[in-house]
């Protein structure tokens, strides 16, 4: 992973929609007036949601003005956190966890499937415009490794047997249900297995 590239075709202007402006004001009210800069992260997320899951430069400036903070500081935050996208992503944005636990459980296979099904390189939108994928660090679901996040949903307990089917469903704009693909309930033991103490752990 390198520093996020800023997209070369930028819209000239950005403004919150009426609904989002109300949300933005609500967010601002959560912070003391002299600390309004703290609202930068939720506002960036709001802007990202409004703009097809990526933040244009105009939005960085807009938020900078909105919170009266220097542009560079907004830019620093937007490049620091992997949750913010500075160039367009697919309708289904696949984030594959490749941190140690997932890697040990075969995250490489997931990456290979993404390369095969979506695009050869990460952060590149597939030819039909549906998907893009990227490698990310730990998403906090190590118990269900390997896993990936697609938009707001977790797809867990993946394997090379089911991953292609899942990716195909995104490519065809007909996503299958998220969750564990080994029929686990959340991170409970498989098939309702009982732990060493004889207690049902579900």
């Amino acid at each position: 992973m390198s520093v996020k590239k800023v997209y070369d075709k930028q819209p000239d202007t950005f403004e919150f929609t009426k609904e989002n402006l109300v949300l933005a004001e609500n967010i601002l009210n959560k912070y003391p007036k002299e600390r309004k800069k703290s609202a930068v992260m939720p506002l960036l997320y709001l802007a990202q949601n409004q703009n097809d899951n990526w933040i244009p430069l105009a939005a960085l400036k807009y938020i900078g003005k909105f919170l009266s903070m220097p542009y560079i500081n907004v830019y620093e935050i937007a490049t620091f956190y992997s949750m913010y996208n500075l160039s367009p992503v697919g309708k289904y944005f696949v984030q594959v966890c490749t941190t140690t636990p997932c890697l040990l459980r075969g995250a490489n296979e997931i990456v290979k499937a993404c390369q095969k099904k979506i695009s050869k390189n990460e952060n590149t939108i597939s030819e039909n415009g549906m998907c893009s994928w990227t490698e990310v660090e730990c998403l906090g679901a190590c118990v269900n490794a390997p896993m990936m996040q697609v938009n707001r949903d977790y797809y867990e307990d993946l394997s090379k047997n089911n991953i292609e089917k899942i990716l195909d469903s995104f490519m065809q704009d007909d996503p299958i249900k998220p969750g564990s693909f080994r029929n686990r309930k959340n991170s409970a033991p498989e098939n309702n297995k009982i732990n060493g103490n004889g207690i049902n752990n579900a």
Binding site: S2, L57, Y71, I72, N73, Y75, F80
Partner: protein, 682 residues
């Protein structure tokens, strides 16, 4: 005072010190990259690790506050190993290009790796490569060399007051850049070059010019503005290669403005190296004898009342003194150093200097600006105001609109009526002022140009005296003059003291027959039939219209005395020699006197300097503030005319003949106006 033990040596330290500072007190040297005493603490380079008793891990001494009874060790094996480890990590991604790096020879990383590093690298993997960033015409970037100390980021945010540099990305991919690679909009931007501990930010105009050990270093002072920043001039042969700041806490801390630093390439260009005379409308070279004969005969044949002398903005006191004696000898009554008709009162030294002192700004709790833009008129002074503002959030109020000053201020009105309200205690500002303990009122040249200037200056002085803001311990009354030679010229009385502005009227009405400009290029003047003699170093505005040109050295090429806006007398030292057949100004005056068969007043430079010093008012000693003269203050009353207070816009990068000759300065000016055009859309 609390005590701390460093390497078994017990010392006392002041509360609030960090472990690093305490170790330095104890004489233990701690290597560091990110820590800088004038910036906030970052603690991200980890080079300053030391061992603390009862701590299993080494601690970052720059970020750890020292406390009573701490036991610190800086010379153990563990510390040495920790330093070597940190060094190895820093060098893992640092390119081995010292032989082609401009920082080589004065690089913190180079020096410290010699003392604290391993002799060879164990890093076999590929090194990181980072794209270079554009940061304007002054700063050259080689970002692969960056070790992410964030000194530049902190400097821009805290000292310069322009949050334009930042660190994007994270971890190994962190990169230092300006927003969308715009140039930094600050007059202090080039200080990040000095701050950078490696060769990531280096000087663009100085790139590949010389190695630090080849340069001759002369400690001197700056004349680009009236602050008198302390500088070091580095020369290679005749050429001035660069100008660096010298530490002086009283004046410029350890920063200098971009103009001070980079106008020096103007010393190599547009130089007048031979005498010239005008024949058939063209300037042609001539010998000194020829030029002196023309000057002599012109002075002889012209009526003394129709001769005018004007002294420039960067002249040393010796030059002005010898010029005044020269004028006296020839009984020429018209001489002036002001560039515009400013109201000046030289009865008391207090009336034309910055009495609170630059260091005093830090103690102040309220600052009022009247018709001044300190950011452009005295950049280092503005940095000090910002320092006070950042430290204590003091109220800053401006009469007149100076634009962005890098700190927040309130505008209290743009007309002289508003000042009357202040004096009558009728507005909000007067309330703030009266509630403060150590206020500062700064009157700028734009205010002194007004018709009500006398009213403002005298009124403010009276107001402050009546409210006990002018006393033994504190003097809130300040005048901010813009030129390096101004205070010296006032001390020597090289102007019309009655403020009738006869000189300017005569100049405007073209009543002079002979005008003698000495280093003076900023005068607003349209030539008609005058015979013009220009004596100076640069072929600038006045040289173009001159009939005779006499070459004289620039400020780096002769010794001289300058009094800064605080009234502090400083020595400027000769760091290089003038080009061609230039002669020092006082010698030229002697030559002209010889030509006219008059006696010369000063036989040698020592005599001239002694005489000059004896004429300085309230003189104490070199580098010190003048004696205070707050007894027997005189108050006059001036008439108030209701007029707007404009803060004159200065063409910052083009404000004197050296800067106008400098390519770097015109690049800066172009970069600035490009940015402005983009904003205004013109």
């Amino acid at each position: 005072m609390p005590k701390i033990t460093v390497n078994n040596k017990e010392i006392e330290f002041e509360n609030g010190m960090t472990v690093l500072q305490a170790c330095e007190l104890a004489g233990a040297e701690i290597p560091r990259f990110c820590y800088h005493e004038r910036l906030s603490i970052a603690g991200n380079c980890r080079m300053c690790l030391v061992e603390m008793e009862k701590s299993s891990k080494p601690i970052a001494s720059c970020a750890m506050p020292a406390t009573e009874g701490m036991k610190i060790k800086t010379n153990t094996e563990k510390v040495e190993k920790a330093r070597k480890g940190v060094m190895e990590f820093l060098l893992a991604n640092h390119p081995l290009d010292c032989p082609v790096c401009d920082q080589g020879g004065e690089c913190d990383l180079q020096d410290q790796s010699l003392y604290y590093g391993f002799d060879k690298s164990r890093f076999k993997e590929n090194k990181r490569k980072v794209k270079d960033k554009y940061m304007g015409p002054l700063i050259k970037t080689i970002m692969t060399r960056c070790i992410h100390c964030t000194r530049c980021v902190r400097f821009a945010t805290e000292v310069a007051g322009v949050t334009e540099i930042g660190a994007i990305g994270r971890g190994e991919n962190m990169e230092i850049t300006t927003f969308l690679e715009k140039s930094m909009e600050s007059e202090l931007s080039a200080n990040v070059i000095d701050l950078c501990p490696v060769g990531a930010l280096t000087s663009k105009p100085y790139a590949f010019e010389a190695r630090p050990w080849e340069l001759k270093k002369t400690e001197t002072i700056d004349v680009m503005d009236a602050v008198g920043s302390n500088i070091r001039v580095d020369t290679y042969g005749w050429e001035v290669k660069r100008v660096l700041p010298r530490l002086n806490e009283e004046i410029n801390d350890e920063w200098i403005s971009d103009k001070t630093r980079y106008a020096c390439d103007g010393l190599l260009k547009q130089r007048i190296d031979k005498p010239f005379k005008r024949e058939n409308g063209k300037l042609i070279e001539c010998s000194w004898d020829e030029a002196l004969n023309i000057v002599g005969s012109k002075i002889k044949e012209t009526d003394k009342n129709q001769i005018g002398f004007h002294a420039g903005d960067m002249l040393s006191m010796e030059t002005i003194n010898s010029l005044k004696e020269f004028a006296k000898k020839l009984s020429i009554p018209n001489y002036e150093f002001r560039e515009k008709p400013l109201y000046l009162n030289s009865d008391n030294k207090m009336n034309y200097i910055f009495n609170s002192s630059i260091k005093g700004i830090e103690e102040s709790d309220c600052i009022v600006l009247i018709g001044t833009n300190p950011r452009h008129e005295a950049t280092m002074l503005n940095a000090r105001i910002r320092k006070a503002f950042v430290a204590k959030k003091i109220p800053i109020i401006s009469f007149g609109d100076p634009g962005d000053l890098t700190y927040d201020y309130t505008n209290a009105g743009n007309s002289t009526e508003d000042i009357k309200k202040l004096l009558n205690k009728e507005n909000e500002t007067s309330k703030i002022l009266l509630n403060s303990k150590k206020p500062i009122i700064i009157i700028g040249e734009s205010a002194l140009e007004l018709k009500s200037a006398k009213f403002i200056l005298q009124g403010i002085k009276k107001f402050l005296k009546e409210n006990n803001f002018i006393n033994e311990n504190w003097n809130a009354f300040n005048v901010l003059l813009q030129n390096a030679s101004s205070v010296g010229a006032i001390d020597l009385g090289f102007f019309e003291k009655d403020n009738s502005f006869n000189f300017f009227n005569k100049l405007k009405n073209n009543e002079f027959k002979l005008l003698y400009f000495i280093g003076s290029d900023n005068l607003d003047f349209i030539k008609s039939n005058e015979f013009i003699i220009y004596q100076g170093s640069h072929g600038d505005r006045m040289a173009q219209i001159a009939d005779v040109i006499l070459p004289s050295p620039a400020y780096t090429e002769q010794n001289g005395l300058f009094i800064n806006l605080e009234g502090r007398l400083q020595k400027s030292n000769k760091s290089t020699y003038p080009p061609g057949s230039s002669k020092e100004d006082w010698k030229i005056f002697n030559l002209i006197l010889n030509n006219l068969e008059e006696d010369e007043k000063f036989k040698n430079f020592v005599e001239l300097r002694t005489d000059t010093i004896s004429k300085i008012k309230n003189h104490t000693d070199f580098d010190l503030l003048p004696k205070k003269t707050i007894q027997d203050l005189k108050f006059e009353s001036g008439s108030l005319i209701n007029e707007p207070i404009y803060v004159n816009e200065i063409d910052y990068y083009f404000s004197n003949s050296i800067a106008r000759s400098s390519k770097t300065m015109s690049d800066c000016r172009a970069a600035r106006s490009k940015k402005l055009n983009k904003i205004t859309g013109s």
